[in-house]
């Protein structure tokens, strides 16, 4: 472990030392999971490996490391940057945007893409992918925007275009889970991205209800839903096949925008990504829905996904 990591570990230990209950420790770990990259998780694992086996920190980090989809160190690792609480950028110091795919993630109410962020990053080859995670701390389906980026959903889209050079990327995919699913679809349309993916996203009725409850006008949202810019993004709505609410949400969006629906068979849980993670199939599933390999998007070979 390098000296670079001593300080973060020290900060972690000091923060944990201030916790008086298991719930307070869990609160720290949940927050860390939303932000840490795989290399940081591995670094923490090394740092805590000699802690008592019953220590909450060691149990937590070891359980996360065991669950990482690949857990293989890369020649160059993802690093985290960004000074806005609601926007975090993950990129590696390798290659250039023009050869990379940018995934713009719209997190749900748990402020993650259904899984600890490191699990998603672990699947992506940093030489070919960058990831941005947007977080809606107001839990208003992004209607009230993200502080520092914009005070409304539409201002967030403008803000995003200002602080990220989207056209410089090989391609850009909006990827939203749960409370961020609809936002990914709308962002893909508004920003003319290559693809928009919703996983377990809320239906547009729920979005409109939220807009109205805040005393705002649904008009701009309806206009965006009706828009048919050319080129139009490839929209994919993924839902757990045995989850009635999520199926209803996907079908509700699918009635209003041209989109493919993908039903995940034998899955009754909202957390579709967790479903595939538990089956050690997360890289394959992400490759499938992205329409390109997470290891090398230029490779014509597709990883088989046994459903």
């Amino acid at each position: 472990m390098t000296a670079d990591f001593d300080r973060p570990v020290d900060l972690y230990r000091r923060r944990i030392a201030r916790c008086r209950t298991e719930n307070q420790v869990n609160q720290v770990h949940i927050a860390l999971e939303n932000y840490l990259v795989p290399a940081e998780l591995r670094g923490l694992g090394l740092a805590l490996r000699n802690d008592p086996p019953e220590s909450l920190g060691r149990q937590w980090v070891e359980s996360r490391l065991v669950s990482l989809p690949l857990n293989k160190p890369r020649p160059v690792e993802f690093e985290r940057s960004g000074n806005l609480r609601g926007l975090t950028r993950y990129s590696a110091d390798i290659g250039s945007p023009e050869q990379k795919t940018l995934i713009v993630g719209f997190a749900g109410f748990a402020h993650r893409l259904m899984l600890p962020t490191a699990f998603v990053l672990d699947c992506l080859n940093p030489a070919w992918y960058d990831l941005i995670v947007l977080r809606d701390f107001a839990k208003r389906l992004y209607v009230q925007g993200i502080p520092g980026l914009g005070d409304s959903f539409f201002d967030v889209l403008s803000g995003l275009s200002t602080c990220v050079d989207l056209p410089s990327y090989r391609n850009v995919v909006a990827f939203g889970t749960s409370g961020g699913g609809h936002a990914a679809v709308l962002a893909a349309i508004a920003l003319r991205l290559d693809k928009g993916i919703s996983i377990g996203g809320a239906g547009f009725e729920q979005l409109e209800a939220t807009v109205r409850s805040l005393g705002l006008d649904v008009g701009p949202f309806r206009a965006l839903v009706s828009a048919r810019p050319d080129p139009y993004p490839d929209l994919l709505l993924v839902y757990a096949g045995d989850h009635a609410r999520d199926e209803a949400g996907a079908r509700s969006i699918g009635k209003l925008v041209p989109a493919r629906l993908m039903k995940v068979r034998d899955c009754g849980k909202h957390g579709v990504l967790g479903h595939y993670s538990a089956r050690r199939q997360l890289p394959e599933f992400l490759s499938l829905i992205l329409g390109q390999d997470v290891e090398n998007p230029t490779s014509p070979a597709r990883r088989p996904l046994s459903r």
Partner: protein, 88 residues
């Protein structure tokens, strides 16, 4: 704190934990107004939601309830009684 206030706090904790059913008005009414005992198997609570629920309960009520206890207690009524005892 009376039972009605306790139920409100527990329901708010379910919402803080992003349990989808906690945003359902019918369930809210039956839980708060009718004191309905909801079996946790009827709620979509994964391990993260259980942790977030316990964190919210501890922050709002000062009572330490652990995720494994939530599973063992198994219903909102049992959780309510557990927390009420701790507050007494």
């Amino acid at each position: 704190m009376d039972r009605a206030q306790l139920r409100i706090a527990l329901f708010d904790a379910l919402q803080a934990a992003n349990v989808p059913e906690a945003f359902d008005e019918d369930l809210r009414r039956s839980f708060l107004d009718e004191g309905k005992d909801v079996d946790l198997s009827q709620l979509e609570m994964d391990s993260l939601a259980r942790m977030e629920f316990c964190i919210a309960v501890e922050l709002s009520l000062g009572v330490t309830l652990l995720p494994r206890q939530v599973q063992e207690l198994g219903s909102t009524g049992a959780i309510e009684r557990f927390v009420a005892e701790k507050l007494a």
